[in-house]
Point group: C2
Chain length 235, copies 2
């Protein structure tokens, strides 16, 4: 563990919250009443599949930055026909889109963050906008020092500016920052900038057996969950 | 009280923290050991007097946005000759400047914010940069949902963009936001944009008898302190 680290920055979707189960549950609750019977996990996967391509428009400079809520809404509307869903009212579409504000944390996260807070500054470094992060924190008891990430940088990970804006907000050099994520691609981008890195195993993130059990890139710490990370960091 | 309000945004210097007593104490602690015997409150006042003119350079467009820490450092160096202070090492100058990260809250604030958090989203809407806000929150136990304000907007209050960026970060319309401050000028600027407003009396902010006892502009709520505000808002 690099002794210089003063702040831990967290990926959120997949690393801290179980987006797949939560989105399946939330969409079922809203659409079941309208008579739709779908494979709701499949619906969640389809929605999530549009996530990277939508952000790529912004990362590549083809589109101006807009909040992830806006991209989620575009992505939602683009998959509805595939599931033969039509005629939803604006209010229902908005409520569906806010499902991303009602995701549940993996069971180890809230306790793990409380331990980590004793030794480090903590912030999400997510592609989610500030209001998503605030609602997830209220729902799950995440004890953030600040909400950093895409909206502050007005760009999306893994573009370098998102990581560097977070370090700068805390007046820290990259080597004083540790990126914590369940995705090796996120850690690879952070490490390239000089961040320390910690990998969290989420073996079932995208469905049973569909998640990273271990990192595919060199990391400073590989942990089974946030409690394990806290133990390895001595907090 | 406007029933639409969902978030409370706080001015920090003067409204939540007693900058004058704290800066006097912190600067005395650092400079006494170097043999300086000053009127430390006078030193705090001189430093604070440079605050508005420095921000005005940014507000007027004559200078690009830089963090308040940077302006505080320039202001510090500009007043040192007036107090016949010279020859400080870089490390000492940095430590002096970080005095603004070690300000104490007025006695009603931490308990008041805990009550207000039950009913509202809470964020600082300060000209201080994120790292100052984070350090003040850790020191005083401020339970922020997010750190908003000047650094997010890259401009300084009372310019409109700073207030509007905070409302936008929470996905709220101005009328769903309440600005809470001990300074009528801050509330006037917020009200012009459609924010609800609450005035907090800080009669001794800038010295005995030198602070606003009551607002000089129309406000939605006038409170003696944050406990009184929480009671008036029913939290």
């Amino acid at each position: 563990m690099p002794p210089a680290v003063k702040a831990l920055f967290f990926d959120v979707f997949g690393t801290l919250v179980d987006w797949r189960t939560s989105i399946a549950r939330e969409t079922e609750e809203i659409l079941k009443g309208r008579g739709y019977a779908l494979d709701w996990s499949n619906f969640a996967d389809a929605w999530r599949d549009k996530y990277q391509p939508a952000m790529e428009e912004v990362r590549s400079g083809h589109a101006a930055y807009c909040k992830l809520d806006v991209l989620h809404r575009q992505n939602l509307e683009s998959i509805l026909p595939d599931f033969k869903i039509s005629g939803l009212r604006e209010e229902e579409l908005r409520e569906l889109n806010l499902a991303w504000h009602r995701l549940d944390a993996w069971p180890d996260v809230t306790g793990g963050l409380a331990r980590l807070k004793r030794g480090y500054l903590l912030a999400p470094l997510s592609n989610g906008n500030i209001s998503i992060m605030v609602d997830l924190a209220r729902r799950n008891g995440f004890p953030w020092d600040a909400i950093l990430g895409a909206e502050l940088a007005r760009d999306y990970k893994p573009n370098a500016g998102v990581y560097l804006a977070a370090a700068d907000a805390f007046d820290l050099a990259p080597r004083e920052c540790m990126m914590v994520a369940a995705h090796s691609s996120d850690l690879k981008a952070a490490a390239k900038l000089g961040f320390a890195t910690a990998h969290i195993a989420r073996p079932n993130e995208s469905g049973p057996g569909l998640g990273e059990v271990s990192p595919t890139v060199p990391v400073d710490v590989a942990a089974n969950d946030l409690g394990d990370l806290a133990s390895q960091l001595g907090t």
